[in-house]
Symmetry: C2
Subunit: 329 residues, 2 copies
């Protein structure tokens, strides 16, 4: 493990360098530089589309709470982003989406075949990065996260337009779909930073709750955002039958619930009906209630950090949670 | 590593037990028993469809040439079959095939989404089996094999109906698509059997050449077999624009080459034209020539085994090569 051991002003700047989006992007570009042909084109296209790199940032900050900036930590972080990129490509096939981060999706540009294989290639790349460094703990966590993601996505598809799904089942689904990989990202970093088992579980709890909040906010924005900001069409979840938190709250509403239930049962939505849904959600305070539920998970996430070393890296994770909170106000 | 160390009559029977298809099928069933919901259904469906389990058999026999029957060896073998199963599911999406081993394919039964996620799940399962046992060497090899398979498949798609492809490029493509995983299967087993680096390379050469021969034979059978035996429609490769060895030989033929070139250029084939292709291939001896080329790879494969310990396991690998040879006569 190549460790920069001097923990002083210089090491603080090394920490900052490791955790910068530019550094992560450069390392991703380097890691994918040996991909050739169409797979190479897909990789370059994905890198160009950018992204917030939340998962690798979580890994790096989680590691730096406990240990120094190492190449292993960066590699563990890259693996998380590669898994995320792979799952995005495969999700696009599933959803028959044509837009992703405001860019035409991989399956739109190169077809289903390239999308399937490009995703497989990136999954394999993630494992290769971890296996080359003998990061078995991280590998096992990553495998479990991918399996959970597959189960979450497939359950979501099986439960389309399903009216008797509970809010608890919805949360379980987004845990699998989204939160487990954020949990894995945090635990992976903490492990490399040589955190204790208890600390790894604690920071995993942070990632898990942050992930739930993150997905709830994303789901709310499907009702609020415009497609230019979101990078995908508005009401996509609802019209595809993926019921999310605002929809569950609306279904429970004594006055509007039966109308909404009937609407979902028909599986087709006019522009007027969708506008009516938006109006009711805003008017009855259900959007605010959904944000409040997201907020409660953000608070849980922050509480998980309470027992961990009180340093600037922990503060950064607190800030990442607060930043998400700002989107909920 | 749980090793059965007594090498006598009893251990010979232990070896046989490990390398039986029944044992492999049972171990696959056990490994996949924790898969739930639709993914569980997909897994059970795939297991029921059966298969020759060539890859895990190669791993086990390659291991037993050098060492004893261990659980690690069985796990390494299972990982190879899981990768193969995953790639079959993803190939079906790519080819829009509806039949696989005479069974409706996963994408036909459950849709593209389930096929993508089911494949991802099985890839992850393969890695989890290897990572849990700390089989890093095998993991690295497997990752490389998957990346080669992705590149091979994607190159094949990019080169559909491409008339200026050379026979050498065709061989390079089937190396990536098929042979690298057979090479990986052999090397994985030999590594667990504690073979030397040179021995691992030698047995890898056996797997590689066997894999090339295997794919050439498979490609020839696309022109010969009936769909009931093959588990897929006849002439599927040709009509989809995947030019294989008999097609390359036909393109080179002074008399029939120009006609065939023109036919491929049109990308559409009547039943009469396909029957004409079959007739020419048989009449000009090109099927026999293709089989002879496959045979030359089988011989190369057997030569790779020459320097390895002369025991019953090596004899079994020789027999596996000879068995393929019987299909080429």
């Amino acid at each position: 493990m190549e460790t920069i051991t001097i923990r002083n002003a210089e090491s603080e700047s090394a920490d900052n360098a490791l955790a910068s989006i530019e550094n992560i992007n450069q390392a991703l570009t380097d890691t994918l530089s040996d991909s050739r042909g169409i797979i190479g084109e897909i990789c370059r296209n994905l890198l160009k589309a950018g992204g917030k790199r939340i998962r690798p940032l979580l890994t790096i900050h989680s590691g730096l709470i406990f240990g120094g900036p190492t190449r292993d930590l960066l590699d563990a972080a890259l693996a998380m982003e590669l898994v995320h990129m792979a799952s995005l490509i495969h999700d696009d096939i599933i959803d028959e989406s044509s837009l992703r981060r405001n860019q035409p999706s991989v399956n739109r540009l190169w077809g289903n075949q390239a999308a399937v294989l490009g995703g497989d290639y990136l999954f394999a790349k993630a494992f290769s990065v971890l296996a080359e460094k003998n990061l078995i703990f991280n590998l096992n966590l990553t495998v479990q996260a991918i399996q959970a993601m597959c189960e979450g996505e497939i359950n979501q598809a099986a439960e389309k337009f399903k009216l008797d799904l509970t809010k608890e089942e919805y949360v379980e689904r987004i845990v699998q779909k989204t939160a487990v990989l954020l949990q894995c990202s945090c635990k992976s970093g903490a492990f490399i930073g040589a955190a204790t088992q208890t600390q790894i579980e604690q920071i995993g709890g942070y990632g898990l709750n942050l992930g739930i909040a993150f997905q709830i906010v994303d789901d709310i924005l499907d009702f609020l955002g415009d497609s230019a900001v979101m990078g995908k069409p508005k009401h996509e979840d609802l019209t595809q039958g993926n019921l999310t938190l605002p929809a569950f709250l609306l279904l429970e509403h004594p006055q509007h619930g039966p109308w909404f239930k009937d609407l979902i049962g028909r599986k087709r939505f006019s522009m007027e009906e969708l506008a009516q849904v938006d109006k009711i959600l805003a008017g009855t305070g259900m959007i605010q209630k959904s944000f409040a539920i997201a907020n409660s998970y953000i608070e849980k996430a922050k509480q998980c950090l309470a027992g961990l070393p009180d340093n600037s890296e922990r503060a950064t994770l607190m800030e990442m949670a607060d930043k998400l909170k700002k989107r909920t106000c």
